[in-house]
Amino acid sequence: MTFQIKNLNKSFGSKIAVNNISIELKEGQILGMLGRNGAGKTTTIRMMLELIPKDGGQILWKGRPFSKKNVKIGYLPEERGLYAKMNVLDQIIYFGMLEGMDRKEAKKEALKWLEKLEISYAAKKRTEQLSKGNQQKVQLITAIIHDPEFIILDEPFSGLDPVNADMLKSVVKELIARKKTIIFCSHQMDQVESFCSQICILKDGNLIVSDELANVKSSYDYRYLELETAATHLKDYLEHKKYDFTQDNNRYKLRIPRSEKIYQLISEFGEKFELHGVSLKEPSLHEIFIERTGGEVIA
């Protein structure tokens, strides 16, 4: 494993913020770190970044202590932080240089990224003169300009309009394609689902889920069968057979126990009703999250 968290602990007084969690990640994998507010995500990230000391446990990178001394880290914090009065280009160069780049190289990369994210026109503007979305682009550039091996993205798309969100999503996809190891924190489950191969869910400082997303989904004892039909009496049939289902016009979504023989079921419906469409779906991450954390819908 490239990145490992082993038995990590942290308490603030009598409050246990992180309780003995362990996470593993291969190089090039992207981990979706989920949890309700106060679950321990930020504390875990802060311990990874050595912003706060850990009480116990280990964080390793290729077998060595995970530290900015051993690995190039990119960090996009949830609460954005830029120098408001500094001009955009100088700011990106400054952050790049602090990550070991020389000025010329940092400037070249900064201009490349500004061009790519369509904010070259703002290079000489003061950061405070930019819109929130454009400031977020600048923040992302400062996090990745030095081509880090390990990247932490905490709510990278919050507060963005759809156009800017798509633009930043394309950057994340590019980072994934370039085999960067990424920890992705978000409350937007659809994004986590679309980007992450691995997920972990934290609840009250405890790691309650940590696996590949596909395994997490398949470990659930139910899945969904979606049927599309014009036959109005399907509803009566489902009610009669006591199926757990929802209806949206001609579409019916049935919650089916995983133990049920699905092809037998499909052929049974096929024989009785004229079906226009049939699909089998795993439970969504959104559902899993709510079920496991006992929370309300956040996204």
């Binding site: 912003l51 900015k68 914090p77 932080g81 830029l82 408001a84 009065k85 602090l98 990550e99 400062t142």
Partner: protein, 413 residues
């Protein structure tokens, strides 16, 4: 292990220099900085041009006219009176109403009535604004005429007359081995030091508190260790302050050497030129830097303890009070008596030493050995503050809420 430590040291040094140069460049790029620098250059021009400007004002004004009624036996002449100052008319008698009207119409600057009584002579002065220099000169002239009158009536030897008329020449001498106007220079220097330390110290605290409130600190801490970052900021802002000081002193030296301004003998400007030698300038620089460093470290620690810049004014109050108390101690005790006990004691207290030693250097009342000991004491305190800052600052900057000093101490346990 050793090479790893060296590598970390080199990285810290590199990051320190990046923070330092960036903070310096950002500080000197701001409009207030440019305006203040320009203001200082203009101030230096004004300082050098002030004697000429004052002279011009004096020359351009109309010559004063005075009237005198002489009801004595003394032989006063209008020419003799003119040597005292202005134009004079000796008149026999006058109505006070007409004198008042002339004064109101600015046709007359003063009216004098000299009368002889049985046992004394009396001079009545009518002036809207009494010119002491003129009055003293006039009294001296009348006294001289009185002596001449007595001498001529008593047939005294002209040699005795000459001896009686020998003028008294007074000259202000310095109490210490410094120029007579040194007090003004000292006032100027400690005022500049006070303003620079409080202004730039506050800038350091504001920069750190702003970073905390904008959360840029959290990103910065992942890139730079807190201590190189703190000193990069302190020195970056300090260097901007020094550059302003250099520009001001450089402008003064330029005007002094170019000789384009007329600098009269005994003027304040001449004293500045004679007092601020290269050696004195070197000491001023050293004590200015050390004074700034001591207070700026405290400002940085306080900046790391508040959650937002708005809270700074109350949080920095103890430092400002300490700074003002130091300034008051200098003005009340050290400046009046730079050889006294207070001057000696305050030369070894780190918060007062930069100003005290500077005053004593200008007054020439401090030995080189004392300067060195004072410097060592201050350097020891800077090391102590640095060690304190190394403990407090990293904890303070990562706390998003405001912290008390006690809480910070608890965090360090």
């Amino acid at each position: 292990m050793k090479s790893s430590l060296n590598g970390q040291g080199a990285k810290s040094l590199r990051n320190f220099s990046i923070v330092f140069s960036t903070v310096f460049k950002e500080a000197v790029k701001t409009k207030p900085y440019l305006y203040i620098t320009l203001g200082l250059v203009l101030l230096s021009v004004l300082l050098f041009a002030s004697p000429a400007i004052l002279n011009n004002f004096n020359q351009d004004g109309p010559e004063e006219t005075y009237k005198l009624v002489n009801h004595t036996s003394l032989e006063l002449s209008e020419q003799g009176l003119a040597q005292v100052s202005g134009n004079w008319k000796i008149i026999d008698g006058v109505r006070m109403e007409s004198i008042k009207e002339e004064i109101k119409a600015d046709e007359l600057s003063g009216f004098f009535m000299l009368e002889e009584h049985a046992d004394m002579m009396k001079l009545d002065i009518y002036m809207p604004k009494v010119n002491n220099e003129l009055v003293v000169g006039l009294e001296s002239y009348i006294e001289q005429k009185k002596i001449e009158s007595i001498v001529s009536s008593q047939s005294v030897d002209p040699v005795i007359l000459q001896a009686l008329n020998t003028p008294l020449q007074s000259d202000v001498q310095s109490l210490y081995e410094s120029e007579p106007n040194a007090l003004m220079i000292v006032y100027g220097l400690i005022t500049i030091m006070f303003l620079a330390i409080s202004t730039y110290g506050n800038n350091v605290a504001t920069a750190i508190a702003s970073e905390k409130s904008s959360r840029v600190m959290e990103v910065m801490i992942t890139k730079v260790a807190p201590i190189p970052m703190m000193y990069g900021k302190i020195l970056g802002i300090g260097m901007a302050s020094l550059v302003q000081l250099f520009i001001f002193i450089g402008a003064l030296l330029l005007w002094a050497n170019l000789g384009i301004f007329d600098v009269p003998e005994g003027s304040f400007v001449q004293t500045v030129i004679e007092t601020i030698t290269w050696g004195t300038a070197f000491y001023i620089l050293i004590f200015f830097i050390i004074g700034y460093f001591i207070y700026a470290t405290l400002f940085a620690i306080v900046g790391s303890m508040v959650s937002r810049p708005d809270d700074l004014s109350s949080a920095t109050m103890p430092i400002v009070i300490l700074l003002m108390a130091s300034l008051a101690a200098e003005m009340l005790f050290v400046m009046d008596y730079p050889e006294g006990m207070m001057a000696n004691v305050t030369s070894y207290i780190p918060f007062t030493a930069p100003m005290s030693v500077l005053i004593r250097i200008v007054y020439n009342t401090i030995a080189t050995g004392e300067i060195i000991i004072s410097l060592l004491v201050m350097l020891a305190f800077i090391a102590l503050f640095a060690a304190m800052a190394a403990k407090i600052y990293p904890k303070g900057v990562l706390k998003s809420d405001s912290l008390t000093f006690k809480q910070l101490m608890q965090l360090n346990r």
